[in-house]
C-alpha cells in the first residue's frame, strides 16, 4: 500500500517548519499514527513536514518545577525515563503499554497526543497528571491544559499552523502519586485500550486532598472524569471510598459500542479500570 503522492520537507528548525505548515500539511514525527492513515488513504496531505531532523526536541528535562517532554521523545524513552517514572508514573506506564516494541521505538508521546485517538493510552495519563501542552506556531506560543486539549474523536485543540513542541508535567509533590491501567484489545496490556484509566491523587493526613481521574477507550475522547475525582476528595482512600467514587465513572461519558465490546460491557470496564487506577495511585502514595 502506497500513500498518495505528497511533497516532503524536513526543516532544520521549528521556525522553518512553521513557515511550511498550512491547511494541507501534516506534521510527521514518529509516523506511527500518520503513516498508516496515509497508507489506507484515509488521509492524503499535500505536504509532509518531517520534524524528525530538528535538533533539541528529543530530550526529557527538568526545569522551573516542571518535567518537559520534547516533541521527538519516543514512547520507549517516556516509559523508562527516571524523571517521568518519579513524577508522572501514570504516563510512564501508559507509554510502556502503547503499541508494541517496534511502535514504542518510533512513535512519540507528543505525536500520540496530537493524533488524539479515542483509545490511546497516554492522553488519559496526561490529563490525570495535569499536563500542559505547549503549542507553537509562527505567531507565537500558547499553553493548553491537557484536560481541554482532546476536543473530539481524532481532534485536538491544535490548529493546522501549530506544532505540539513539548508537554510539561508538574513535578510530584509530597503525598502525590499516579497510576494507569487498561484492558488492551488483544488482551492484557497489548494494543489500544478497550478501556483504560489514569488516576492522580494527593493525600495528606490520611485523607484524599485532591484527585484527577481520566478515562480512555470508552467514550468519544480521552476525558477527565470530574465526578469521580470530586467524589474521592475528602474520603480516606479506602476500597469502599474508591468503589463509591468509581460509580461516577460514566456520569459525563457517552459510551461507544465497538468491535471490542458492547455499550454495557465497556461501561462496566470503565468502572473497573477507574477503580483499579485509583487503588494503584493511592497505594503508591
Amino acid at each position: 500500500m502506497y500513500p498518495r503522492e505528497f511533497d516532503y520537507v524536513a526543516p532544520a528548525s521549528l521556525e522553518e517548519a512553521f513557515v511550511a505548515l498550512g491547511d494541507d500539511a501534516k506534521v510527521l514525527a514518529g509516523g506511527m499514527s500518520l503513516i498508516p492513515l496515509m497508507k489506507l488513504r484515509l488521509l492524503s496531505p499535500g505536504l509532509i513536514v518531517d520534524i524528525g531532523r530538528i535538533p533539541g526536541l528529543d530530550s526529557i528535562e527538568e526545569a522551573d518545577g516542571h518535567i518537559t517532554i520534547g516533541a521527538l521523545v519516543r514512547h520507549a524513552d517516556t516509559a523508562s525515563n527516571p524523571l517521568v517514572t518519579a513524577n508522572a508514573a501514570a504516563l510512564a506506564v501508559a507509554a510502556s503499554m502503547t503499541g508494541d516494541v517496534q511502535v514504542r521505538n518510533r512513535g512519540t508521546t507528543c505525536g500520540s497526543a496530537a493524533h488524539a485517538d479515542i483509545a490511546a493510552d497516554q492522553p488519559a495519563a496526561l490529563i490525570a497528571c495535569g499536563a500542559t501542552m505547549v503549542a507553537r506556531s509562527a505567531s507565537g506560543s500558547r499553553e493548553i491544559a491537557a484536560a481541554g486539549f482532546f476536543v473530539d474523536t481524532l481532534t485536538s485543540a491544535l490548529t493546522p499552523a501549530e506544532v505540539l513542541t513539548a508537554i510539561k508535567l508538574p513535578k510530584a509533590g509530597p503525598g502525590e502519586a499516579s497510576a494507569y491501567d487498561k484492558l488492551g484489545r488483544r488482551g492484557g496490556h497489548s494494543d489500544y485500550a478497550v478501556a483504560g484509566a489514569a488516576a492522580w491523587v494527593k493525600k495528606s493526613n490520611g485523607m484524599v486532598e485532591a484527585a484527577r481521574v481520566a478515562l480512555t477507550g470508552v467514550g468519544t475522547k480521552p476525558m477527565l472524569l470530574e465526578g469521580v475525582g470530586s467524589a474521592l476528595v475528602g474520603a480516606d482512600g479506602s476500597d469502599a471510598a474508591v468503589a463509591a467514587a468509581s460509580a461516577h465513572a460514566l456520569d459525563a461519558v457517552t459510551v461507544l459500542e465497538d468491535l471490542y465490546g458492547s455499550e454495557e460491557y465497556k461501561g462496566h470496564l470503565a468502572k473497573v479500570f477507574v477503580a483499579r487506577a485509583m487503588k494503584k495511585a493511592l497505594a503508591a502514595v
Binding site: G31, Q102, R106
Partner: protein
C-alpha cells in the same frame, strides 16, 4: 529525493519518491527480499528491521526518514556461512512453519537479546509482541529465543521439548 544510508554495512544512495516506504526501498530498490511485507498496516511485524540499532517496522516508515541511518536486515545478521545464534535457534528448535514471519521474528528477537541477555519466558513473549505468527502458536519461537539466549551467553542451550 536522494537518500544515502548504510544497509548491512554497505553504503547505498538512491533516488526515491517521498512516499516510498522503507520496506519497498529495501525490497525493490536494493533487492533484499528477506524483509517481508505482511499486513501493511503496522501490526504484523514481518517487515521488522533495525534502524540505528532499534527494531522498527519498515512498512511504517518512509525511506526519506531513514536518510543517513544505519539499517540492518535479515540478510545482514549471519556471519558469512555461520548463522546468527537466533537463526540457529529457530533452526534447532523448529521456530517456524511457513516461515513468513521468521525474518521479522528474528530481527525482534535479536533486538530483545541485545538489550536483555537473560530474558524470562514472559519477557520473550513481550519482546515479540509486535510480531504475529499464524502457524506456530509461538511455543517453539519462544524455545528458539531461549536457545539463542543460552548460546549468546556461552551456555549449553536447554534440551528440546521433544527430548524431555
Amino acid at each position: 529525493m536522494e537518500v544515502s544510508l548504510t544497509v548491512n554495512g554497505r553504503a547505498v544512495t538512491s533516488d526515491v519518491e517521498p512516499r516510498t516506504l522503507l520496506v519497498h526501498f529495501i525490497r525493490e530498490h536494493l533487492r533484499l527480499t528477506g524483509t517481508h511485507v505482511g499486513c501493511e498496516t503496522g501490526y504484523c511485524g514481518a517487515c521488522t528491521v533495525h534502524v540505528d540499532g532499534k527494531a522498527v517496522k519498515s512498512c511504517t516508515m518512509f525511506a526519506v526518514q531513514a536518510d543517513g541511518a544505519d539499517i540492518l536486515t535479515i540478510e545482514g545478521v549471519a556471519n558469512d556461512d555461520v548463522l546468527h545464534p537466533v537463526q540457529e535457534g529457530f533452526w534447532e528448535r523448529h521456530g517456524l512453519q511457513c516461515g513468513f514471519c521468521t525474518p521479522g521474528m528474528i530481527m525482534s528477537s535479536i533486538a530483545l537479546l541485545e538489550a536483555n541477555r537473560t530474558p524470562t519466558e514472559t519477557e520473550i513473549r513481550h519482546g515479540i509482541e509486535g510480531n504475529l505468527c499464524r502457524c506456530t502458536g509461538y511455543h517453539n519461537i519462544v524455545r528458539s529465543v531461549q536457545y539463542a539466549a543460552a548460546v549468546m551467553r556461552g551456555e549449553e542451550p536447554p534440551p528440546p521439548d521433544w527430548e524431555t
